[in-house]
């Protein structure tokens, strides 16, 4: 099976190691990965700021770049929410609607694809560890893929998942929200970190680069002892893919 891998803008700019681990997780299941070098961003920054006309250009770029009939695998529920759901809203009533729909129907979040399409069964190779989990808002409510990630964690026999009290509350990232309302955003992330620290775990995991950038950046500023890790880096380690 051939799939496209869309690294996302943050995957390209900051989390490149994570992107590699994602590809390895796909290859491990015998999937052939195609990486389009002209890939960019899903368009959320401009879309969520209300620049709909600008965003449509980005959408069409993506739709036409990933033109073969392969699944498009994305390691972020937030970008999947955009590409599988919001793209359709943006093109409702436009002549390109069918073309966009044909693309949107092929977009999968990585955990969702591993769980539902490839039906993975992992053997945990790591030492016993306690972790907690932050659910990305759009992964939870728009693309609805959190269930798959949790199902995969439950296969890792040495991993104890301690739930957050406020797991389903926004961490305060919200894309440009974090810089438009920095004070409110900070109050939100502080509440999230307070919750994380009270769990007394080694790692806070999340499957979204934006949330992690926000949470880990604020934790570093506070000299927090809890470490953060992208879910796919963690998963790759647990199943022996290294890095």
């Amino acid at each position: 099976m051939k799939v496209y891998f869309f690294a996302t803008c943050l995957g390209g700019a900051v989390f490149s190691q994570t992107a590699l681990n994602c590809i390895k997780l796909l290859q491990r299941e015998g999937v052939e990965v195609v990486f389009k070098k002209d890939q960019t961003c899903c368009g959320q920054p401009s879309y969520n700021s209300g620049y709909y006309d600008q965003t449509r250009q980005i959408v069409l770029h993506n739709v036409r770049l990933f033109k073969e009939d392969y699944p498009v695998i994305v390691p972020s529920g937030s970008c999947v929410g955009m590409m599988a759901h919001d793209y359709l809203e943006l093109f409702e009533g436009h002549k390109e609607y069918d073309e966009v729909k044909n693309f949107s129907l092929r977009v999968y979040e990585l955990a969702e694809f591993l769980d539902k399409k490839l039906e993975v069964h992992y053997t945990d190779l790591g030492a016993p560890i306690k972790v907690t989990w932050h659910s990305n808002c759009h992964a939870l409510r728009v693309s609805k893929v959190i269930e798959s990630a949790k199902k995969i964690i439950s296969q890792l026999s040495n991993v104890e998942l301690v739930p957050l009290q406020r797991e389903e509350e926004c961490c305060g990232f919200g894309g440009t929200f974090a810089v438009k309302e920095p004070e409110i955003s900070n109050a939100m992330v502080q509440e999230k970190i307070h919750d994380i620290e009270s769990r007394q775990v080694e790692y806070i995991l999340s499957a979204d680069a934006g949330c992690l950038l926000n949470i880990s950046g604020a934790m570093a500023k506070m000299r927090s002892k809890t470490k953060s890790m992208h879910f796919y880096d963690f998963l790759a380690q647990r199943v022996g893919l290294g890095a």
Binding site: A13, V34, K37, S46, Y51, L65, K221
Partner: protein, 481 residues
């Protein structure tokens, strides 16, 4: 009453509220209680909540699709029942109708039940200027009226004050002994209120559901004071936004079943008042006159838009406020508007002009939780995003005042550049390579560039992991094309 609220006004009030430790503690604890009560109740008693939501949504959308004919039907039936129905196109019209009713009858003091519509039109202030006292009877409204504040929440107006603070307010403003036990505080309020109730001739209430095929109004409350305003006075005046219309008692029952659990996590409130008109001949009590003011105040504009009209489904349960991660940090006053929280962000610019409330659309991280809990499934996050598109002139151009709304040119240039780069792979790679090379420089100069500066105020610079493309090319088995 409408004036322009600047970015600076918002920054100032948000800073103030975020630093108010007492407010933060009170809000956090109150919102947690409301969230958990709702969640537990739905789990125990409402296995078919999702179906109920769909029924509620449909009941509302049915009426909104032909609102004019339902309003007409309501007017006809209400008039038959003995109500006097008035139409108010603007806030000022509504205030004038009430003032004239009072003046003609020599009324100088008005007894008020809880009503957000009365807040929206600025009734208390208007009456005060005309020399008429409007006295709040709802416990929460009484507390904030004593300290001259506006409601901080649409259902629980004094939720930002804890019982110790309420005790102090009663001590200072009512001369009561200092108490902090809820029962004692209720006792003080009750004693004060009972004295106030005597001698009022005119009572004002809101409306939860206006039932078109019966010409009746339905009022939901918990304290019995609302009932006092609608029954004990000679004249009852109900202020009713036109969107409160429902077709039948059956539809009102569905919505009531969604309202009480969503609002405060109970199946039903203590008092449910269904009013079918004034005192009839031979009856011993009830008002001698009953008036209903059907308030438009730009609701017709909202109704006219293909997407925004859904905001008129709102049953004012307030659960979107309770679940909002922004509202629970800054509280209702920081929105500088009658209606705070997600629904407030959506309707405030439409009622009072986007040019006056440009900043309010920023008070949302688009987390989507409001849409998830809304009992009538209003797509609040999408509507908030659409408001931002009204600001950038890339939306449908339908919200009042959008043309005169101030908007950052710098952001516009930035977003246009972003869209151009993100639609071109070669350009994108070039920019990414540059930002990788200059990442250490960014760290050095971050504090001097405005956007990064805001990010770095509370966060460290992310560790950049370097060139993705080079790594991918070297990864065996990947088709890099």
């Amino acid at each position: 009453m409408t004036h322009t609220h600047t970015d600076h006004d918002y920054e100032q009030v948000i800073g103030e509220k975020l630093n108010d430790a007492q407010l933060r503690t009170n809000l956090r604890s109150a919102m947690d209680t409301l969230i958990h009560k709702r969640k537990d109740l739905l789990k125990e008693r409402y296995p078919e909540w999702e179906q109920l939501r769909t029924m509620g949504q449909n009941a509302k959308l049915k009426v909104l699709s032909k609102l004019d004919s339902f309003v007409q039907q309501f007017e006809e039936n209400a008039t038959k029942n003995g109500f006097v129905v008035h139409y108010a196109s603007t806030a000022r019209d509504a205030n004038e109708i009430i003032y004239n009713l009072a003046k003609e009858r020599g009324v100088e003091r008005i007894l008020k039940g809880k009503s957000m519509a009365s807040e929206e039109i600025g009734l208390n202030q208007y009456m005060k200027e005309k020399g008429i006292v409007a006295k709040e009877t709802d416990l929460g409204e009484l507390i904030i009226q004593l300290i001259d504040e506006h409601p901080v929440h649409i259902v629980v107006p004094a939720i930002h004050k804890n019982r110790h603070q309420v005790g102090k307010i009663f001590q200072e403003k009512l001369g009561a002994p200092l108490e902090s036990e809820p029962e004692k505080l209720n006792g003080i309020a009750r004693k004060h209120m009972r004295g106030e109730f005597e001698g009022f001739k005119m009572g004002i209430s809101g409306v939860n559901f206006a039932i078109a095929n019966e010409g009746a109004i339905w009022l939901v409350e918990n304290e019995g004071n609302g009932r006092m305003t609608t029954t004990a006075c000679d004249i009852h005046v109900a202020i009713c936004g036109i969107e409160k219309m429902v077709e039948s008692f059956e539809d009102a029952s569905i919505l009531n079943n969604l309202l009480c659990p969503s609002a405060v996590g109970v199946q039903i409130t203590c008092y449910q008042n269904i009013i079918t008109g004034p005192r009839q001949e031979g009856e011993l009590d009830g008002p001698k006159e009953a008036h209903i003011i059907l308030l438009d105040h730009n609701r017709s504009n909202i109704l006219a838009d293909e997407k925004y009209y859904r905001a008129l489904s709102c049953i004012r349960c307030g659960t979107c406020l309770n679940h909002c991660p922004v509202y629970d940090k800054i509280g209702g006053h920081a929105y500088l508007a009658t209606y705070p929280g997600p629904i407030g962000v959506v309707i405030t610019p439409q009622l009072f002009g986007l040019d006056n409330y440009a900043h309010i659309a920023n008070l949302c991280s688009l987390c989507g939780r409001c849409g998830e809990v809304c009992p009538v499934k209003i797509p609040l996050p999408e509507l908030i995003r659409d408001l931002r598109a009204e600001k950038t002139h890339e939306g449908r151009g339908v919200v009042r005042g959008y043309k005169d709304t101030k908007h950052s040119k710098l952001e516009e240039l930035g977003m246009k550049a972003f869209a151009k780069i993100a639609s071109n792979g070669t350009l994108w790679r070039a920019v990414m390579a540059l930002s990788g090379t200059f990442a250490p420089l960014g760290k050095l100069f971050g504090h001097y560039t405005p956007v990064l500066q805001k990010w770095l105020r509370y966060r460290e610079m992310p560790k950049v992991q370097g060139n993705l493309h080079a790594k991918i090319k070297n990864l065996p088995g990947v088709i890099y094309e």
